[in-house]
């Protein structure tokens, strides 16, 4: 039997005490971002990153593919917008309303569909996304203003009597929330719950045999993901000052899928990298042609064929395979 101190030493070697360096480093880069690229683009990157962090928890870490994530984004956006417009609540309450609404929707969809096999869930989620889109388009158009989107939501954006009307002020407000969400995500991934999600994606059957209730875990992951989606949607309402009907459109769901896969599903920075690259591509291509979907779709197809791990996933694979060779050599030396 080895000594207890031996085990302690072994533990630090097998899993060093985790430090959130990656979160703080990213935060620093994001603080400087609006000085490098335009403020609106920077803000968009933050909002989509929050959306992507939540989507990545579901797709990248739990292995559940939702093709209707626009539902959470759009519902968050509309709920926040409606609360601010009709109830005149302050923006923090508005955001909270958006988040809660999206989480409730995730509970509803999860209860109905998360039991179904993966392909069915992908189809059902897309269908629910479309259902919300068409509901906002015509039956509820008295409230949602249908095709025009929800406009004239607020005169000014104020946070406790501090005006956020200047784009840069709003950017740093969104940044603060983004950093909180990055840290939250990082904590989740270091926790038993986060490790469990990854185990799920790796081998659901084995996880069941370990005593995990797979349905329940997927359900929690979906609701958590709904929280991020609702938050991103609500922030988008503050940023745009209105809610476009397209926030519920299927292409919005598709965009977050493409961003996350492009950046690297199941990697911590994947969503941020994917969002940045995607928005850069979209903006650049739009300068030349309105048909950016063709190019983005084609690039996405190529990525799937050549780098299915996405940008960060491919880099991580390279790094891990090198590390494994080293470790194996080390183990061989011992024997």
């Amino acid at each position: 039997m080895k000594q207890a101190t031996d085990k302690k030493a072994m533990l630090t070697d097998v899993e060093p005490k985790p430090r959130a360096t990656i979160v703080w480093g990213t935060a620093l880069v994001l603080v400087a971002l609006p000085f490098v690229i335009s403020v609106p683009l920077s803000t968009e990157i933050l909002i989509w990153t929050i959306f992507g962090l939540g989507f990545n928890l579901l797709l990248g870490y739990t292995g559940v593919l939702s093709f209707g994530h626009a539902a959470y984004f759009g519902l968050g956006a509309y709920s926040a917008g409606l609360a601010i417009k009709y109830w005149q609540v302050d923006i923090l309450t508005g955001i909270a309303v958006g988040v809660v609404a999206s989480m409730l929707l995730a509970c509803f969809i999860g209860a109905l569909a998360i039991r179904r096999r993966g392909v069915y869930f992908a189809m059902i989620s897309l269908a629910f996304g479309q259902m919300l889109y068409f509901t906002a388009l015509s039956p509820l158009k008295e409230i949602t203003r249908g095709e025009d989107g929800l406009t004239h939501i607020m005169a000014t954006v104020n946070l406790f009597s501090v005006s956020l009307d200047k784009p840069k002020h709003l950017y740093y407000f969104v940044l603060a929330i983004t950093v909180v969400m990055l840290y939250l995500t990082w904590r989740i991934l270091q926790s038993p719950f986060g490790k469990m999600l990854q185990a799920f994606r790796e081998n659901e059957e084995r996880a069941k045999a370990c005593g995990y209730n797979t349905t329940l875990v997927k359900f929690f992951s979906l609701v958590l993901s709904g929280l991020y989606g609702g938050l991103a949607g609500a922030l988008n309402t503050l940023y745009l000052g209105y809610v476009p009907l397209t926030s519920l459109f299927w292409l919005t769901s598709g965009t977050i899928v493409m961003m996350t896969v492009l950046g690297g599903r199941g990697t911590f920075l994947g969503p941020l990298v994917g969002v940045a690259v995607f928005l850069f591509l979209q903006n650049t291509i739009s300068l030349f042609t309105p048909r950016w979907e063709l190019f983005v779709g084609a690039i996405f197809v190529v990525i799937i064929l050549i780098f299915p791990g996405g940008i960060m996933g491919t880099l991580r694979e390279k790094y891990l395979s090198r590390k494994m060779v080293k470790l194996q050599n080390k183990a061989a030396d011992f024997q």
């Binding site: 109905l112 039991r115 269908a127 015509s138 292409l251 598709g254 979907e293």
Partner: protein
Amino acid sequence: MISDIPLNVILMQLFFGLALGSIFVIMASGLSIIYGLLDVVNFAHGAFAMLGAYVVFCAVSLSGNFAVGIVSAIVIVALIGALVEVVLLKPLYGKDPLLPLLLTFGLAVAIPDVIKIAFGLIGKAVAYPAAFSGATKVGPLILSNYRMFIIVFTLAVLISLWIFLKKSDLGMIIRAATQDSLMVQVLGINTSRIWTIGFALGVGLAALAGAIAVPMMSATPDMGVEMTMGAFVVTVVGGLGSLGGAIVGGLLIGVIVAFTALVAGEYSNVAMYFCMAVILLIRPRGLFGESGRE
């Protein structure tokens, strides 16, 4: 409500619903065949249907013959499908099962833009074929000839599909490969080619659905999404991999959409999703359970 509506209007709407449902049935059968064989849910299914619609538009403009349009839609789109399967999907088999699904989704995003560049954003209308224009009076009902044609034609397509799968050698191999592709491989049959044929057949059916829908709704670049959605809802309700499920689910959804359009017009786009939600509430695994492979 519905009791105030005269019987003949209800029957008319039922007729409309069956015609609409027929298109869903053909879409969903194609989706099922592809899933059964390749384990891939084809998210670009509607995009292929849209391509079929545009082929009909071109062929009818050139030849003036609707039958030529339908045949060329099936053949051309099936060939495109075969190409897509060989070049894009084949490299992904045996890897992460999400990848082919994501890939077809990428196609669903990209393909409509190709059409927008080639034909512009405005829809292209195709006239009803001369033989089926106008309407026929049946008792108190006035039924559009073209919709009658769709219902009869769909029936014919389904019967031939059924005969093909049950009786022909190729059909039997496809059914066997749907059950167990390894077994078919052991028998010395080239499953790789069967997959290509299966995918081509599936998207060919999608093209057929798009083709026969065109005179009623005209071809637009973005029509694919709604057609995909129709096929998905039918599949969720009826179950993947069963033709019976596709038929019952398709007709049910078609009729429900038609009746909603009658009593609450603004809900007609939402009706099929509500219907899906309700069925999921009552029967979480769909009307016929989940068939096909785990």
